[in-house]
Symmetry: C2
Subunit: 209 residues, 2 copies
Amino acid sequence: MKAFKIPEATVMRLSIYSRYLHQLMDEGEDTVSSGEIANGVGVSSAQVRKDLAYFGEFGTRGVGYKVSELYLQLMKILGLDHRWNTIIVGAGKLGSALALYQGFSDRGFNICAILDINPAIIGNQLGNLEVQSLDQLSSLVGQHQIQIGVIAVPANHAQDVTEQLLQAGVKAILNFSPRVLKVTPDIVLRNVDLSVNLEILSFNLALNR
Amino acid sequence: MKAFKIPEATVMRLSIYSRYLHQLMDEGEDTVSSGEIANGVGVSSAQVRKDLAYFGEFGTRGVGYKVSELYLQLMKILGLDHRWNTIIVGAGKLGSALALYQGFSDRGFNICAILDINPAIIGNQLGNLEVQSLDQLSSLVGQHQIQIGVIAVPANHAQDVTEQLLQAGVKAILNFSPRVLKVTPDIVLRNVDLSVNLEILSFNLALNR
DNA sequence: GACTGTGAAGCCATTCACAGCT
DNA sequence: AGCTGTGAATGGCTTCACAGTC
């Protein structure tokens, strides 16, 4: 357990830095400065250094950072030095897209199962996963030692599904439904609201009209 | 053009308040207090009042807010008192899911077209849209007076597609690709990075191990 | 000379607390 | 009495600026 609280904005940027470093590795770069990282991802160089300073000293003064070394450090900090088992609940358009999204697996998230309540959908093949019944939730979570649940069901079922996931032992929830979920403080919860993002665009467009 | 800068966090919450108010309307509620809204969406009541105060005085002291009235005001503030024409570029898993997502249309975003570069996908039917060729981008944007572009292509094509959209006259971009896009300051840009969200969960899970 | 690591300053958002209405 | 609207206080993140190191 960390002694100091890390700003969420910092964690988000670390994730972005790590991807940029991966790109640099592919391009064969050996070292990189905070200024170059800053430039590559669109923040200030002081910001990059401050973010890294929360976790230690990774660079060499006068030189910069060793790309591959910093990359591995960041992956470790982000908890991506091992894989997480994940379950998706809801196999509609969004759930299916998430199940098929290569990016998750690339970054260490195993999609172990995808569930739905609709009999017409159960049994459908999505890549190498078959949509299973919601009834299987508890036993699948236990069987695969699943730590992360992804909620892609309609708003009115979101809280119910959340409780089933927590009951089964899931410790973190990524919620794609447009509903505020109530969970105990020990559960890690994040919301991704697709409409909200479009509405922020709309607000800014409306400002300049 | 507004004189004061509004925090993005405030805009995000206004969007959430507006959905909660819609829910209250469905339930037949007539008035609501800042405390009730706060409770419903998981923020403090002072926060709700501060957010609203950026835009005017909408309530009655001692009473609260009239639900339907506040709802309409928020929709107007968010620029959702009319519809926005939108184009999606990239008809892979994610792009297709977005095209079929009912939530966008519900909140005033017309998906006018979806494009891809892959001939094997062009012509596919998605709901009542047919996937069209990327070549059509410029003419479709002009023809439908499209203001918003949604990017759902692989990272290595994201910047190129962005430039085509801006060239064609699009004023706002919602970017789902994991790549930092360079645009001029007059363009409204938002990034939705699905992996980053999972990685923030991962970070928090790793903390408590 | 170049670049990191960091205390201090500055800035922005949230919370507090209360005056003002109904 | 109840609830809004808001100036003041607080807290937290970002930027500045420079000492320290290679």
